[in-house]
Structures are given as C-alpha cells and as structure tokens.
Amino acid sequence: MSSAADTGRRSPRTRSSSSGSGVTPYVFILPFVILFAAFLVAPLVVAIVNSLFATQHSGLGFSGGGTTSFVWFKNYVTALTDAGFIRGFGRVLLFGIVQVPVMLGLALLFALITDSASIKFTKSFQLAVFLPYAVPGVVAALIWGFLYQPGVSPIVQGLRGIGIPANFLTPGTVLWAIANVSTWGYVGVNMIIMYGALQAIPKDVLEAARIDGAGALRTAFSIKIPLIAPSILLTCLFSIIGTIQLFNEPQVLRTITSNVTANFTPNMAIYQTTMSSNDLNLGSAMAIVLGIVTFILSIGVSRMSTRGAGA
C-alpha cells in the first residue's frame, strides 16, 4: 500500500509502471516466499535448535519417549571429534582434488575440440558426451556397479583375460570407481557450459589472433581459455559443492561392496547417524557442520574467481 506511494516519490516513471499495483507484487512472490520460509528457513532453524539439544532415549520411541535437555555445543564437539565423520571429509577432499580437475579438464578439452570449426561430427560427439547427464546419478551408479563386478563385467573379465588383475572394488580403488561414475555423468554438462562461453567470444578477437599468426593451440591457451575463465570457475564452484555433498554414487555402490562404509562421506554419516543410530540431534549438528564447510569453500572459490578476473 505504502510501497506505491514510496516509489511514486522516487520517480514518476516507476510510479506509472507500478500503478495500481499495491498488493500485486506480493501476490506474485507469495507462493515462493511461503515455500521458502517453510522448506528452507524453517528446517534450518529446526536443525540449529535441534543440534543444541540431546535426547536420552528410554525406549524405542522415535519422536516421543525420551528426555531432552539443552547441551550447548556438545553435539558439535562429538561430531568434530568423530574420527569416521572427519575421515569422510578427508575422503571427499581427496576425491575433489583429483576428480574435479580431471572432469573439468576433459570438459574443457571437448569444448575446445567442438568449438574448433575444422572438426566434423561435433554435434553428435557433443550429444554422446552429454547423454550420461540424462541418466540419473543413482542409475549411473547401478550400471557402473554391474561393470565393476567380476561376475558380470565384461570390462573386468577382459582386463583379466589379458593378464591385468583388475579389481575396482578394493578399499584402495573404490573411491576412484566412484570418481569414474561422477566423471562419466558430469563431463557433458560442464562441456556444454564451457562451449557456450567459447561460442560467445567475439569473432573479431579470434580473427585478430589468427592474423597475428597464432595457431589453434596458441589461440586456445592465450585467448580462448583466459576469456572463458569466469565460466570455468563457475563449473569449478558447482563441482566442488557437488563433491562435498557426495552421496548417491557411494550409497548405491554400498549395495555391492562392503568397502564403502556407512559413513564413507559426510552426507552418508549424517544419514547413518539420523536413521540407523537414531541420533537426530547429532545428525543435525553434522548437517550444520557440512553446511558451514560448504559455505566457506564456496565463498573461498568465488573470492578466488573475482580476484582472478580482476588481475
């Protein structure tokens, strides 16, 4: 009501553009705001409050049947001193340091190849690389799960046939078996994003490089890659956030190998603590810890990106 008057004072142009609007903007935003409050703000508040309490279970009760007491940050101390939970962070960190550069490197390579005008079949090649993105991560893990099992896998059998004792599911290799599933699924979408940025480079810049005598490789490294750096950093940010939250692929591979433990990644530990150990309070504290770590890393990467763009 007063908003229309407010804007009216500011400039006559915006007044006419929101003339008679009064409550209209609020009607437009209402559905989102309600859902946002109910399923984003409220859960966070519930989790924060919940993480500061501890429930002593007297029986098998799930919500009732127990005494709840305020324990300050005890759950956070428990979470941060839980060796399994911390090892999960170490695991996704190692995963991220190796898998993200490999995946984005491949995506960049394929984007540069398909961006180059002299190559044929680029459209169908892009389609082949992108299609795994249409396969849900869970189903991708199921398919690769079969391809990792010696009993069914033609790949394991083939490698063993030529004398390589391949086993993708040992304690040492299973993390990379998971990394392969993620790489398979997400190279394509990253390639398309980078390709879009490459296509947006003004043609006269490339023309100038060509007249100056720069070859394809030189152009790629000195002109194309620096110009699409913001897009690369964007994909990097998304990939890092995705890595810390790793859940689907290891949870599925857990059904075929015991080398993926129940708390293999932070998200799996949260799930296990909440559902199997039935410790909702500790689970909430772990979720908050994971949220904070993700938040800090995201801020760190975007800082880096703005600094990189400024230099």
Binding site: S3, S18, S19, P25, F28, I29, P31, F32, F36, F39, L40, P43, L44, V46, A47, N50, F62, S116, A117, S118, F121, L131, P132, Y133, A134, V135, P136, V138, L142, I143, G145, F146, L147, G151, V152, P154, Q157, I192, I193, M194, G196, A197, Q199, A200, R210, G213, G215, A216, L217, R218, S231, L234, Q245, F247, T255, Y271, A287, F295, S298, I299
Partner: protein, 300 residues
C-alpha cells in the same frame, strides 16, 4: 609443447590467410582418436545395459557381456511389469509426479517471483534479494536431514507432498527468472500493455511469460534434472515402497538382488526402461537444452 606447433601453424596461416584454419595432419589424427575414445567411454555403459537387458538371469552371468545371448527382452519386460503387482510402473508414475509436475510448478513459482523482483518496487524487496543470494549457498542435500525432521514434526513424512513441496523451493530458478526478465522483457512493452488496460497477471501470462522463455527453459531443465536425480530426501522421507520414485525403487532391488534370485535382471531392465525415455527426450529436445544451458552459463 605449445610453442612449436603454434609456430608451425603460424607459418601455414601466412600462406593461406583465407578460409578455415588448416590444422596439420597429426593434430587431426590426435583429435580423431580422442573423439573416438571419448565416445566409446560415454556410450559403452549404455550399450552394455541394452545388451544385458535382453538376457535371462542365467545368461547374464554366463555369457560374454558385449554379445547377445538368448533373446529374453520381452520376458524380462513381462516380469518387470508383473513383479509385486506392477510396483515398477507405480514408481515411474511417482517419478513423473515428483519431476514433471515438480519442474512445472517450480518454474511457474520461480518465474512469478523473479518477474516481480525485476518489475516492481515494493517493501521488503531488498530483504528478499539478500535472502535469495544467501540461500544459493545452502546446498540442497545439507537441507535433507533438517527437512526430514520438520516433516516429522508436521506429519508429512512418508507422504508424496513431503518430497514434492521441498523441491519447489529453487532460489537459483528465481535468480535466473530475475535476470531473464531484466534482459528480455522491455519495460515499454509492459507499459503499453497497461495502457491497453491489461491487468498485471494478464500481462505476465500473455506477454512476459513468452519473452522469458529461454531463461525459463533453463529453469525447467535444471529443476527437472534435480528432482529426477533426487535420492537423499526421498530416502529420508519415504518408508512406503508405493511412494518411491523409480531411483529409490531400483536401488532397493539392487540391494535385495544379492539374496533374491532374478532381481539383478529386473534392476537392469528397470534401469533401461527408466533411462530410455529421458535419453530420447534429451536427444529430441537438443535445441532447448543447448540454448538453455548456454544462456545459463554465459549469464554468470
């Protein structure tokens, strides 16, 4: 390594300044090899899935993975359809509700909000924008456990709404709708509509909606993929197999397949049936996701 070929092609281009860049033969070969190997890597799992889906349970473990055995595709489809009273089709239907209906509603809700933020001045606008920007950094899977606790409180756990409603909150979609409105809905056109006497909602649904279509394609695509891939939240929320999305059901089968004979084959044929329509949809709708993803990528 970068300098030498660069100089070589540099000499070449001075000879041929017109036309497409002429790459040396060896680099063409290298690129061709890379493309073939990459295509194989991305296609092989799907090829294996198709072949494995045509085999009986016995043949699956006793015949070579990449060759066809006795043709049992239709038998497998039959057992898939009849297993436990056709629960698989129920899962597909559930997934359609969560993903297709979910993506559609998400897009409408995000578009309304993003449009209002771009077009109107109103009290609380800045607060909403700040909240949106902060929420972009809250990962969805971190919210799964808190959402589950909340749903237990309000009695919506083990309910389809418990999976559908949280998926409609998509701050990224609102931001994208906002930037799309800013860049492709001219203020003058809205003015003209108002002068002609069109109401605000009519203006939105008849004029703005269409102008925003490129950005909204991205929203619908991303939100569809997000809910189609969603696994952690349904795992927390749903106990009743009748309410599972297909991903959850297939993982359940895979888990039981170690003890229940034949479930391995059902997992394979079920995966194929799940993947085929969506892969076909992506192949047919290439134009849309290409432009959508490109637009999304360039805007940031």
């Amino acid at each position: 390594m970068t300098a030498i070929p660069a100089r070589k092609t540099g000499r070449r281009t001075t000879e041929k300044t017109v036309g497409v860049e002429q790459a040396p033969l060896w680099s063409k070969v290298v690129i061709a090899v890379i493309m073939v190997l990459a295509t194989l890597y991305f296609i092989i799992p799907v090829v294996w899935l198709i072949i494995a889906a045509t085999k009986s349970s016995g043949d699956l473990y006793s015949t070579p993975g990449f060759s066809f055995a006795h043709w049992s595709l239709f038998d497998n489809l039959g057992s898939l359809a009849s297993y436990r009273g056709g629960i698989f089709w129920r899962w597909i239907l559930n997934s359609a509700v969560y993903s297709v209906l979910g993506a559609f509603l998400t897009t409408v809700i995000s578009a309304l909000c993003g449009y209002a933020l771009a077009v109107y001045e109103f009290r609380g606008k800045r607060t909403l924008m700040t909240a949106l920007l902060i929420s972009l950094l809250v990962p969805t899977t971190v919210l799964a456990q808190p959402i589950f606790l909340l749903l237990v409180h309000i009695g919506l756990n083990n309910n389809m709404l418990g999976v559908l409603l949280p998926s409609l909150v998509y701050p990224f979609g609102v931001m994208l709708s906002y930037t799309t409105t800013m860049s492709s809905v001219p203020k003058e056109m809205l003015e003209a509509a108002r002068i002609d006497g069109a109401g605000e909602f009519r203006t939105f649904f008849t004029i703005a909606w269409r102008l925003m279509s490129t950005g909204l394609t991205t929203v619908i695509l991303f939100s569809f993929v997000a809910s189609w891939n969603s696994f952690l939240l349904p795992l927390f929320v749903l106990d009743d197999p009748q309410l599972y999305p297909v991903t959850l059901g297939l993982v359940d089968w895979s888990q039981q397949s170690t003890s229940v004979a034949g479930l391995g084959t059902l997992t394979i044929i079920g995966s194929l049936v799940t993947v085929v329509p969506i892969v076909l949809a992506f192949a047919v709708l290439q134009r849309f996701w290409r432009s959508g993803l490109t637009a999304g990528g360039v805007k940031f």
